[in-house]
Amino acid sequence: MEREATIGRYGWIGEGRGRLARFLGPQILPLSLSWIALSGVVALSLFVLYMTFVPGLPTDPGFTLDHWKEVARPFMLTEVLPNTTIVGVGTVLVVIFFACPLAWLLNRTTLPYRSFFIASIAVTVIVPGFVKSMGWILLVNERIGLINKWLASLLGVERVALGLSNTLGIAWVMGLMLTPTVFFLISGPMQTLDPSLEEAAVIAKANRRRMLLHVSLPLVWPAILGGSIYIFMTAISIFEVPALVGGGKVPVLATELFYSVHPTQLGEAASPPYGVAGVYGVFIAVPCLVALYFYHRVLARARNYEVITGKGYRPHLVDLGGFKYLGLAFVVLYLILAVVLPLLVLVWTSLLPLLQMPSLEAVSKVSLNNYRKALPALGGGLMIRNTVVLMVSVTVLALLFSFMTSWVVVRTRIRVRHAMDTIAMLPHAIPGLAFAFSLYMLGIMAFRYFSWEGLSGTLVVIVIAHVLERLAYGTRITNAALLQVHRELEECARVCRASGVATMWSIVVPLVKPSLVFAGVWTALQSYREVSVALFLGGSKNRVLSVAIWEMWRGGNQTLAAAGAVIMVAVMGLLLLAAISFAGSGILAQRRSSQMQSGSGAVVRP
């Protein structure tokens, strides 16, 4: 009957389409879109691996193991890998310590000013990592640290031997920096927790602590685990924090990668050994793949975490009562450490001709000169336009491909879905510079063999690189979000003869909208601040603001770069506040509406 209806509607084309549609099932759209993205990941990853065995440029002939020998020396085992592990694990611990309570407080409780706090947390992503690093050096440093000097005067000693130029200090700074990543990752699932489970815990006389530990926390556990894995991989790939905070004396994989590919000028005919970058990429990818294995084991028990069902879903907020002030204190503390202090350093730097410690003499030099010169020096309208186009296009495409990939991973039973999820994480495992070089070479080859310049020095190539890089984080969010939506909602839709696309768009997407909004905001911000890939793939026509600010900072114009960064933070912060307020009010409207329908406005008060 269905077959005849299909043929009748479309004729012979319809018959073919109907067969194909039946063959592929309702998953044709997510399958095809996810494979487009994942094929790109696979191709670039294989290219990176290929580079590790090529002596020179990938277009040159030859085979070598020299790059592997270069990397695999005792120094790696005795210093680099242990340091990297401590930094990675330490960062995860700091992130979890802040992100989980923040996500709960700002999404599941009646804490006041939640939208403002969420926007403020997002703003910290806009502030470049090297600025935050400099900020912490000015704050905690045995010789010049402001906190050191304050402690020394408090304790009546000459000097306080407290510093951050070690693995724990690097983990601290990176943890603060990366907390928003996990915060956004688990905020969506936190918002959509079914409160009936918490209500059941209250009825069973569980106190607030037991409810949190035994009900709420296990329900968002996949998101927390996914975020932890992601943060570990991110932490071991970041270069600027260990380089600045660690003073270059704490070798980790990321710094080794940087030094290995930095052109040493003499005696080399052409490019630096990007094959070595590929080897470091493999070294970074291995622990990631191990971590992914455990993640998949959690995913296998996915149904236990489904909380958005067809029955009476109505998220509620927990009234903190007297604990509200403790909650506020915790949020404010994090914001001071991660947002206020770096921003203060940034603003202070922007007002001076040269960065210097606060003093009366320094105050006398304060002026707005840098603000007058900043935007023209950074590149003006073209730079801004490139940045906006990059952010918007990367956000839309990354969300689309992430959602489709997660749909296949979480919603289908195809055998390769776990492999697809692993592939989606690969870009995050491989250093961005290695990916960037692969794309750069592909762009050259496209020009050489097909006379096509679309991939060389254009925004398109940076968009592709960013979309593939963001796939890892995007799929963590959309995986976690889709895990919480029970299949019965889609089953109802199919019973009502809704197509796959209609089901996806009209039923599932609205339910996971908070996660998508957070993912979109985070993706846009990460694209804005990303430097290494945009720098490498940058040319005369596709420069973006992050690169201009970084190069200006690196080139000795720190104060001018700071002024540019302050302007961008201010503009992005306002846009962000508007976006989150809009999304927040939309969600609140849904909540109020559902409460009216059910006739109950109760909040959970253990």
């Binding site: 030094y259 003499l266 960065l355 080859m445 005369s540 200006m552 080139g555």
Partner: protein
């Protein structure tokens, strides 16, 4: 009446004086005439070049990132000087070494490089030259005279601008001199190191950051011929270093007071001095050797806009361009010093030589060039790798 002997002497000296005056007069006439002839030919070549630039309609030039605040001034001055209305993209947001690397990768693959003209030090230019990836400027001497008034007036010789192996290919517009700087509030002139090797002394442990670039340390064997011994010294210096930071990042930390001094960061000193005349930073010229290099513009082969690239390359050597870039970059031009700053640094460099110190660059004599060539061998490359490991303490 004069006796015959005195008369003869008088006649001889008179004849000599008249002859000399005649020669001088002739030179005064012929000299400018000769220069004018060159200028006429050069002017014609210049007009033709400008016409080609207008036809090309665009130019993409890579610039030094520190020049960002004056980027627009460079663009305007260049376009106005030649009456051009082209799409001129002067990009200062790239990293110099990375841009040259990408240039090599593109050209090796047979496609045009990203930029029409590149800026970099003499070593980068030499590597590109050896790989036959730079294109020469035809009639460069006449064109240079037509563009650069100092060359036209004879104040600067063409082979000071484009010298040695770079003749006609690379055009110097500035140099970099690698002395050190120190914070006079943290270390006195009496206590600071005298030579680079003094940094290996335990008393300086933790007092300075070091840049991870090996180039300036590679000059060491020129002055300390025992390469193994030099490597050992560099290793001790690396061990003593309190941090591994780039020149600007390290200088910033010295200015902030975290470290007392930084070797090889003189260019940062002048920039800081410009922004803060009361800065406690002082320059320090190592008494064993001070390294120098030249910074040039060069046009790669297969440039999309070769005429514009050529014109810009030549224009950047002019006094007009110097007045724009030097107050921002604060690098001296010691090949053909013209500004007060050039002369100030040139005087410092002379002072170093008078005190018996060595001022070294790769292309100034056969010995240093031979050392440079040795670094291009397998043995030299391995030695360079060990220098990097020594200064960064990565084994």
């Amino acid at each position: 009446m004069m006796d015959l002997g005195r008369k003869s002497t008088f006649l001889k000296s008179s004849v000599a004086g008249v002859a000399l005056a005649t020669v001088v007069a002739l030179l005064c006439v012929i000299g400018p005439t000769q220069g004018a002839a060159q200028t006429a030919k050069g002017k014609q070549l210049l007009d033709e070049l400008i016409a080609k630039v207008k036809k090309e309609g665009a130019l993409d030039a890579a610039g030094i990132s520190t020049l960002a605040p004056r980027k627009d001034l460079v663009i305007r001055a260049f376009l106005n000087r030649f009456g051009l209305k082209i799409n001129f993209n002067f990009d200062v947001a790239g990293e110099e070494s990375a841009e040259w690397s990408k240039m090599h990768a593109s050209l090796a693959a047979g496609v045009p490089a990203e930029f029409d003209v590149y800026v970099g030090d003499d070593v980068k230019a030499e590597i590109a030259l050896q790989a036959k990836r730079l294109q020469p400027v035809d009639n460069w001497q006449d064109l240079l005279a037509a563009v650069n008034p100092d060359v036209a007036a004879g104040r600067v010789k063409p082979n000071q601008v484009s010298f040695g192996p770079f003749e006609g290919y690379g055009f110097v517009f500035q140099g970099r001199v690698y002395g050190g700087l120190y914070n006079s509030k943290l270390i006195s002139e009496k206590d600071r190191p005298r030579k680079l090797i003094d940094l290996a002394n335990p008393k300086y442990k933790g007092k300075f950051p070091i840049a991870p670039f090996p180039t300036m340390w590679q000059y060491g064997p020129f002055v300390y011929p025992n390469k193994d011994e030099w490597l050992k010294i560099v290793g001790q210096i690396g061990q003593n270093a309190g941090a591994v930071l780039t020149f600007d990042a390290g200088s910033e930390r010295v200015y902030l007071g975290e470290f007392a001094l930084m070797p090889l960061a003189t260019q940062s000193f002048y920039r800081v001095r410009d922004k803060d005349p009361k800065s406690p930073l002082r320059v320090w010229w190592p008494e064993d050797y001070v390294a120098m290099n030249d910074v040039l513009h060069a046009v790669p082969i297969r440039s999309r806009h070769p005429a514009g690239a050529t014109l810009f390359t030549l224009w950047m050597t002019t006094p007009e361009a110097l007045e724009i870039w030097q107050p921002e970059l604060w690098n001296p031009n010691l090949r053909y010093p013209r500004s007060a700053f050039d002369n100030e640094v040139a005087k410092e460099v002379e002072g170093i030589k008078k005190k018996g110190g060595k001022v070294v660059s790769w292309f100034d004599n056969a010995q240093s060039k031979a050392l440079l060539d040795w670094y291009g061998t397998k043995e030299g490359a391995e030695y360079r790798r060990k220098i990097v490991q020594a200064i960064t303490q990565r084994k």
